[in-house]
Amino acid sequence: MSDLENFRQEIRSWLEANCPAEMRQPVTDEGDVCWGGRNFVFKNEAQKQWLERCVAKGYTVPDWPQAYGGAGMSPAQAKVWREECARIGARPPLSSFGIWMLGPALLKFGTEEQKVHYLGEIARGEIRWCQGYSEPGSGSDLVSLQTFGEDKGDHWVVNGQKIWTSYADKADWIFCLVRTDKANKYQGISFLLFDMTTPGVTTKPILLISGNSPFCETFFDDVKVPKHQIVGELNRGWDVAKYLLGHEREMISGAGGGDRLNAIGAVVARNGLEDPMLRAELAMFDVDALAYGCMGEKFLDEAKIGKAHPAQPNMMKYAGTELNKRRHELLMSAGGATALEWDSERTNGGSPARSWLRTKANSIEGGTSEVMLNVVAKRILDLPGA
């Protein structure tokens, strides 16, 4: 047996022994997701146990180095881990912007001290992070951001406002783009980390069309940030920001796994599928979804060995989010009038409709589809003037 096959057996028996049965059920609502953090309330004992067992083995971040709380898996081993988890339908033990976004940026740009400290907290699910990027006047044109950090010697004093800050009201810390030089557009931004309980930080949830409030407005009023809480060099935060955006787009693309890669025709058909035109559309969708699943696998395989084009996450984000919006349009059509119910028990509180509405943000957040296409045209296709 090859080393990788031995490894697969090892993972398989570990999962068999350690992944609680409840954690092998599909995620059906937000409460099923384990976000970790100081104030996180576990939904049940199984969720807590699953997290603790994975943390002990470094499996919340399997391909991070062991020194930073990971399991030190090679790309091939990490793929085996994903495949074995998918095989039994194991939920991710921990979901976090720390894992998906800040972690990779710290691994590339952080100091050794920052890596040990922050990555360890992320891996153990102790600190929940949020992302301070967009501002009311800086959406697609992110680099025009105005939140300002005034140099006060050993610290900055930050003033300004962020918007669309996902779960800012639940997060412990924020990674935040702050202008530290008003004269330079691109080279005048720094990447700062600070505690959301720092005096002067306030958040206000935004009510969305889904009826939920996952996003917030976040206000900074004379917030003191110590100088050592910067990632990368002063005024070079845009490099960190862009690198992190690649990972954010990869995350939103759904390439890493989960229901975004699944076909839906068979699931819909369980409740009856009498309309031949809808069936045909579902079949065409399933072709696209299964093909996209292959693309996700290929993208991750290539990314791990540095073979993917650096701008490829933009393509993945574009394709994955447009596909997901189409998925939910079809699920709404398949559900008929039942899918319109807003707060009934049998729809789990309007889950189909709310999920459908939530997906409309997919192609806006983290860079709109139009911006993604711009980036692909410029950086991959090298089209003129793009």
Binding site: L282, M295, A319, L373, L383
Partner: protein, 379 residues
């Protein structure tokens, strides 16, 4: 297994890409044989060169003198055939034909494979009997007669059928037209009595034959595999043809895409390169995305097929449907973005559009395969 080429496969790709760019180009091959009115629809000289490079027998076993490679490797060749629109008997002969013969006896393989591997002979595959791909229905019949069979029936869209030294025919030896069982594959020599070809030129300048078999006498040695038990082998041949045509389609799509983006970077209107217009940039970027996804589905299906995985059948249909839809988008966008010159025979983009049609139809179009995806998924 990671979804990219191994080192050996990447080396093969480099070799084949260079070779096909030098020898298989549109001017030397497609236009040359088209404009001379070639009744084979392809050039034998290039086929001989394929043999010298070992490509003709790449799927045959080493014992049979081949390279014992798989669909990933064959797909590398097909992609370059697609990119260059090279008329070639490679798909019907070296992919489908060899897959069929590999299920045959030592004698049968000894009779046909050496000629194929040497680049001296070509094979055709006769399965469909109507304008659309419907291999579930096979009405052509081979009745037992003495030690052999007597074959009668009609086969359509047999690509390069009139040029083939042997035609692999799927015929019914028992049961009714739509039964799964009762199928037998035959290797029918071209000179057998009672074969009539209606040899037709297709839109992409390929030659395809509608063949009438009228009481063709075949000896028992012509049977490939088991009498009445040929469906499984037929399915292998179909899978080979489907994933092969999908791989070729991604080559056609990428070829069309490359010449189109090159055009966007040189054509000026309103004092600007037309590639500066966002309306075109977004469409080109969308097309890039679709082509990447189609290529990923193709390599996944190839790997699954080579590994004998259970899911291979589903992924082959996903790959063919996705490749067909995507390549069609590529050639339509290509002609539109070329503007008026896209309608001329002088520019190559229209040739890509023609090839896309033929290849999509071959072994099932996107509708056939999307339907199959639904059925294999259980709805």
């Amino acid at each position: 297994m990671p979804l990219y080429h191994t080192e050996d496969q990447a080396m093969l790709a480099d070799t084949v890409t260079g070779f096909m760019a030098d020898e298989g180009g549109i001017k030397q091959q497609l236009r040359y044989y088209r404009d001379m009115g070639c009744q084979d629809g392809f050039g034998h000289a290039l086929w001989k060169q394929f043999a010298e490079m070992g490509l003709t027998g790449m799927l045959a076993s080493e014992a049979d003198g081949g390279l014992a490679m798989g669909h990933v490797e064959a797909g590398i060749v097909l992609r370059e055939i697609g990119r260059n629109l090279t008329p070639s008997p490679f798909l019907t002969t070296s992919v489908m034909g060899v897959t069929a013969l590999s299920g045959g006896s030592d004698d049968l393989r000894g009779r046909w494979l050496p000629g194929v591997i040497a680049g001296d002979s070509v094979l055709a595959v006769a399965i469909d009997e109507s304008p659309k791909h419907r291999p579930e229905r096979i009405a052509a019949r081979a009745e037992k007669a003495g030690n052999g069979f007597r074959l009668s029936g009609n086969k359509s869209f047999v690509v390069q059928g009139a040029s083939a030294d042997a035609i692999i025919v799927a015929a019914r030896t028992s049961g009714s037209d739509t039964d799964a069982d009762g199928i037998t594959l035959f290797a029918v020599p071209k000179d057998a009595n009672g074969i009539t070809h209606e040899n037709l030129r297709l839109v992409d300048s390929a030659m395809a034959s509608n063949i009438r078999f009228d009481n063709v006498e075949l000896d028992g040695d012509c049977v490939i595999g088991q009498v009445d038990g040929g469906r499984e082998l037929l399915n292998k041949v179909l899978a080979a043809g489907r994933i092969g045509s999908a791989a070729e389609l991604t080559g056609v799509g990428h070829g069309a895409f490359d010449i189109t983006t090159a055009y966007l970077k040189t054509r000026k209107q309103f004092g600007r390169l037309i590639g500066e217009f966002q309306a075109l940039q977004h469409r080109a970027a969308h097309l890039y995305s679709e082509l990447e996804i189609a290529s990923a589905a193709v390599i996944k299906a190839q790997q699954l097929l080579d590994g004998g995985a259970e899911k291979a059948e589903l992924m082959v249909s996903v790959a063919k449907a996705k490749a067909a839809r995507t390549c069609n988008l590529a050639v339509r966008e290509g002609v539109q973005m070329h503007g008026g010159v896209g309608m001329t025979d002088e520019y190559d983009i229209g040739l890509y559009m023609k090839r896309d049609r033929s290849l999509t139809e071959f072994m099932g179009d996107q509708y056939y395969h999307a339907e199959r995806v639904a059925q294999l998924s259980g709805y």
